[in-house]
């Protein structure tokens, strides 16, 4: 049966070569106009026609590899032997495919040494299109089938295929762009390799200057970024811990509200907090107006710069730290604390010597999240930064600004990546294999020890005002969209909403005349496409990592973890660079934005899936296997129904992150495919706060609706527990 699948894939590959345009077409396949030029047209010709009729002889070896796959599929061979030859043939095909794709570009050979070896090439090629993609997929499938025939992955072609799909897509859309940006940093404007250039680019005083310490002017962006990230990491961890302790270890009455507060930032675009801070502390903000009116104090601009950015980031990322820490605080076994108390330790001594050390891995995790979120944050620094530049804004200006210096952007992105990965590895070194997760299958009969009085006081004095202020900020945001001009004219109005979301009835039908509709619908559409893909990829990867045993499992897990640590800004720049030229020329398409969403956010689906899956007894999978359930059937009938909460989580997260993300997509949007967040950012930069706030509120409502809809569609997990 597996052998027949091989034949089908070979047939698909052959059809793709003969009947589908090999290269990408300007206007896509939708119009069908390519059918006429399938043989004759230089652009729309199929692979075979390109190789025979249009002088693209370098495609021929790839086709030959496919032909050899056909021979292997038909030859009378034992399964193991057929598998080996299929692996060899399809791997050759993949190598040949990649070799020609990278060797020949828009202007003939891509590298000088090829010209000197093979002579001038009379020919060029564009980005890979439908035909090429199908052949690539066929080769990957044949490789999986070959591996399965050889007995890898338990002889299951589905597992092998899922494995190949996940690995190759991560390599293509995460590893390759990042490697590409590494290379870019070492090249000059003409693409020539100059290793020392990166030193030159990074040695600027603008990056490393320490003038601020001496009292004259601003520091370099690298120091700014690092200092901001350290403050944000420490601050959000401390605040998150205070919240977590209040919720789990005190009899505080409004715990539910604190829980709700943690959801808000997740469905809020990250810069909305920055906007709200401007409404309160900005030059025409409430505080300054009050001071001016009451005491005649002249408005200052202190909020624009380090304090404002830090404040905004703390508000935005504390809830994330709280989410990380609440699990950790709950995970500390009460029995251990009770043991400590029976050993004559006071509540305070117990907290300091037992509870807190047990939480260290969690604290390190929360710090890492705060640190990486901070250095990757683009929205808040661009809204509130003023003269205070950080790496992410600096990269943005290098790409879109007057400098237009891609090499510099790449070098800065490299620096940013190094910071993120440095923190990531440092954290792994510090925490290492130490995990004090004390939740076990055995029941833990102890009661959580209440926080000692002093600790409770501190936690409440820190956390509660903070929570109140967060609520206030969101309130102002909401109100801000309903007044004429904040700071000057507080007349209630719906004008901002009308300007953004007006719908007019005209004789020829409904006209979406609001300024925001274009970007709004693009955002909804792309996020709706990306969310299921994100969830599917993340959960399948999780299933592979948790449930399947194969060589290279550790490496795959590490790569996916790594993609979690790469800042969005770096991903965005890397995508622009890597997918701007053949063989993968997708810049300017909606596809690149969707891909960016998917591979940026799949790590969360993966984490959620892995956590949920390791709670499901493995023997359920095995029972299904011994009951004739093949791997895909086990996945769909047994694993997925039990994973519903994780499925919901991954879908929601995939959608919400796609809608709220700024840093990665700010480089990828075009006039045709503008997104809500980038549109809002531009409005803010232009000083049009009313519209920006109105739009942000609409986004928050949209995401709440989406969350409810997804929850409704996927439904609850049916476990048939006894009713209490």
């Amino acid at each position: 049966m597996i052998a027949r699948a091989a034949l089908i894939w070979v047939a698909a590959g052959v059809l793709a070569i003969v009947l589908v345009p090999w290269y990408a077409l300007e206007d896509g396949l939708g119009s069908g106009s390519w059918l006429a030029g399938l043989w004759s047209s230089d652009e729309a010709a199929s692979g075979l026609a390109q190789a025979v009729g249009h002088g693209k002889w370098w495609l021929a070896p790839t086709f030959a590899a496919l032909a050899s796959c056909l021979v292997v599929s038909l030859a009378p061979l034992a399964p193991g032997r057929r598998g080996t030859w299929l692996v060899v043939a399809s791997a050759c095909g993949l190598v040949l495919f990649a070799a020609q794709a990278f060797a020949v570009s828009l202007h003939g050979w891509t590298a000088g040494w090829m010209t000197s070896w093979f002579g001038e090439l009379d020919g060029r090629q564009f980005g890979i299109g439908a035909g090429g993609t199908l052949v690539l997929i066929a080769f990957l499938s044949l490789l999986s089938i070959g591996l399965a025939l050889r007995g890898a992955f338990g002889g299951d072609a589905f597992v092998a295929g899922a494995m190949t799909a996940v690995t190759s897509s991560i390599l293509l859309f995460t590893a390759w762009p990042i490697l590409h940006i590494l290379a870019q940093a070492f090249q000059d404007q003409d693409g020539a390799l100059r290793p020392l250039l990166v030193v030159e680019r990074l040695a600027e005083p603008k990056i490393w200057s320490l003038r601020c310490l001496a009292g004259g002017g601003g520091c370099g962006v690298a120091w700014n970024t690092l200092f901001l990230a350290l403050c944000c990491g420490v601050g959000s961890t401390a605040l998150g811990l205070a919240f977590a302790l209040i919720v789990t270890r005190t009899s505080f009455r409004f715990k539910k509200i604190l829980r709700v507060l943690t959801v808000l930032p997740i469905i809020t675009p990250p810069f909305v907090i920055g906007l709200a801070l401007i409404l309160v502390f900005g030059r025409s903000g409430l505080v300054n107006q009050f001071l001016d009116w009451g005491f005649g104090v002249v408005a200052t601009r202190w909020i624009y710069g380090f304090p404002g950015v830090l404040l905004a980031q703390l508000f935005a990322f504390t809830p994330v730290a709280f989410l990380v820490l609440i699990g950790v605080v709950e995970g500390v076994s009460p029995t251990l604390e009770e043991a400590s108390q029976t050993l004559r330790a006071s509540p305070w001594a117990t907290f300091v010597t037992v509870s807190l050390p047990l939480m260290i891995p969690g604290l390190a995790n929360a710090f890492l999240v705060g640190f990486i979120e901070s250095i990757a944050d683009f929205g808040n620094p661009i809204v509130l930064g003023g003269d205070f530049g950080v790496l992410s804004t600096e990269i943005y200006f290098a790409v879109v600004g007057a400098q237009l210096d891609y090499g510099r952007a790449a070098a800065l992105a490299l620096l940013l990546l190094a910071l993120a990965l440095g923190a990531f590895f440092l954290q792994r070194r510090v925490v290492g294999g130490r995990s004090y997760a004390t939740i076990s299958g055995k029941g833990d009969a102890g009661l959580p020890t209440p926080l000692p009085r002093a600790g409770r006081r501190i936690a409440q004095w820190v956390a509660l005002p903070w929570a109140a202020f967060t609520i206030l900020l969101y309130g102002f945001t909401f109100v801000g969209g309903l007044v004429k001009v904040w700071g000057r004219d507080y007349t209630p109005t719906l004008n901002h909403y009308i300007k953004a979301f007006a719908i007019e009835r005209a004789p020829q039908g409904v006209i979406w005349s609001g300024a925001a509709w274009n970007s709004f619908w693009t955002t909804v559409e792309l996020a709706a496409i990306a969310a299921p893909l994100t969830a599917a990829l993340g959960l399948i990867a999780a299933w592979l990592l948790v449930r399947q045993r194969f060589a290279g499992r550790g490496a795959l897990e590490f790569v996916t973890m790594l993609s979690f640590a790469v800042p969005g800004t770096v991903i965005g720049v890397a995508y622009v660079f890597a997918f701007n030229v053949p063989p993968l020329e997708i810049t300017g398409w909606a596809l690149i934005i969707v891909l960016c969403f998917v591979f940026r956010n799949m790590a969360v689906g993966l984490r959620a899936g892995m956590a949920a899956m390791s709670q499901i007894d493995r023997s359920l999978d095995e029972a299904s296997a011994t009951l004739r359930g093949r791997a895909p059937q086990t996945l769909f009938y047994v694993v997925m129904p039990l994973l519903r909460p994780a499925v919901v989580g991954a879908l929601v997260y995939g959608f919400v992150r796609a809608v709220t993300t700024v840093s990665a997509v700010v480089f990828l949007v075009t006039a045709e495919y503008d997104l809500a967040t980038t549109y809002i950012i531009l409005r803010v930069i232009n000083g049009d706060y009313g519209l920006a706030i109105a739009y942000s509120c609409a986004l928050i409502v949209l995401m709440l609706a989406a969350i409810l809809l997804i929850q409704f569609l996927v439904g609850d997990r049916r476990l048939g527990r006894r009713a209490p």
């Binding site: 193991g80 007995g151 338990g154 002889g155 299951d156 007894d617 023997s619 359920l620 095995e622 029972a623 299904s624 296997a625 011994t626 009951l627 004739r628 359930g629 093949r630 791997a631 059937q633 009938y637 047994v638 129904p641 039990l642 997990r717 049916r718 476990l719 048939g720 527990r721 006894r722």
Partner: protein, 349 residues
């Protein structure tokens, strides 16, 4: 022959969980893999199921080489230690799961699933959720789910370990009953020697990834080949003795000053390891009859149904059980031990 293992090895990295075992399971019999935890018995069972593939060797099921086939492709089903009932499906859906996956139409699958439930005495429980059943009922659902596929081999992985003692006895009788009634071929894994003896036609005792000995329960109890086996199959006292051959089928064994004649066709003459069953020792007041082994009570425990004694003798400290609870002996009493021939075994070292 239903299952045949030939020189099967399973390695995890450098360590071998199973190092070269061969055995056969005749169809229509119940064979138990018995051994302490970590002896490789579960790995062996999982290799029959196809949940693990062997590193080397050959596995045949019903005459077909299945060595490299996955679990799905084998004609085998399994009852798991945790039962592994799908918590999101009703009892009927659980039992019909394997039938549906074998592309059997819904009505037919439902009919056969109901039949299966009736076989295990759970007719009418169709719509219950697994969590609404008791442990024993869950166990029966798991059995029904495996049975309805009519596999060539049915596997049980410590099926009784989650049940309490009373239910365990009842369930093992039910399993044995079912196996005899339907003439099933069953491979059964347990670490409980009594359970193994109660259900099995044959027992394969494993230790450290190897087969220690295989045979009927009686053979294993009465003729354990090694001191390990003598101790594992019921309790036994290891003691040093001296063997003298009397004729082709009998030997005389000397333990300290005691001498005893036992039937044995294979033991070599000279010093040997001797296993003495605790229930084969009769404790009498000193001096006792001729040929008895003198000793001193070191410890005495009252267990209701019998007495347990630890007795210091010339052949070492022996552990004995004594059904006479009406006249208990106390520590430091001098006694004479009379050894019954059926409980004295010369074992290979």
């Amino acid at each position: 022959m239903s299952v045949q293992f030939t020189d099967v090895v399973k390695r995890y990295g450098a360590t071998a969980a199973v190092s070269g075992i061969s055995f056969t399971v005749e169809s229509g019999t119940l064979v138990t893999l018995l051994g302490p935890s970590g002896c490789g018995k579960t790995t062996t069972l999982r290799m029959i199921a196809g949940l693990e593939l062997p590193s080397a060797g050959r596995i045949e099921i019903a005459g077909r080489d299945v060595t490299r086939l996955s679990a799905t492709q084998r004609d085998v089903s399994m009852v798991f230690q945790s039962y592994a009932l799908f918590p999101h499906m009703s009892v009927l859906e659980n039992v019909a799961y394997g039938l549906r996956r074998s592309a059997i139409a819904r009505e037919e699958a439902t009919r056969r699933a109901r039949e299966g439930l009736a076989t295990v005495g759970l007719a009418g429980y169709d719509e219950r959720q697994p969590s609404q059943l008791s442990g024993g009922q869950q166990q029966r659902v798991a059995v029904a789910r495996a049975l309805v596929l009519k596999p060539s081999v049915l596997l049980f992985d410590e099926p009784l370990s989650n049940l309490d003692a009373r239910l365990r006895r009842q369930m093992r009788e039910e399993i044995r009953d079912l196996q005899c009634r339907l003439a099933l071929t069953v491979v059964y894994v347990t670490h409980d020697q009594q359970e193994a003896m109660a259900v099995s036609d044959r027992i394969i005792v494993m230790n450290a990834g190897r087969i220690e000995q295989q045979g009927t329960p009686r053979e294993l109890y009465e003729k354990p080949a090694t001191p390990y086996l003598a101790h594992f199959m019921g309790e036994s006292n290891p003691a040093r003795g001296d063997v003298r051959r009397l004729d082709g089928s009998r030997v005389r064994v000397r333990l300290g000053s005691a001498e005893i004649e036992i039937p044995d066709a294979t033991a070599a003459e000279g010093p040997a390891m001797v296993a003495v069953r605790p229930e084969a020792i009769t404790v009498e007041a000193a001096p006792g009859p001729a040929g008895a082994l003198p000793g001193t009570i070191a410890k005495a425990n009252y267990l209701g149904t019998h007495m347990e004694y630890s007795i210091d003798t010339e052949a070492g400290t022996l552990f004995a059980t004594c059904p006479r609870v009406d006249r208990p002996l106390a520590a430091a009493d001098k006694v004479a031990l009379v050894l019954a021939p059926r409980g004295v075994i010369v074992v290979r070292e």
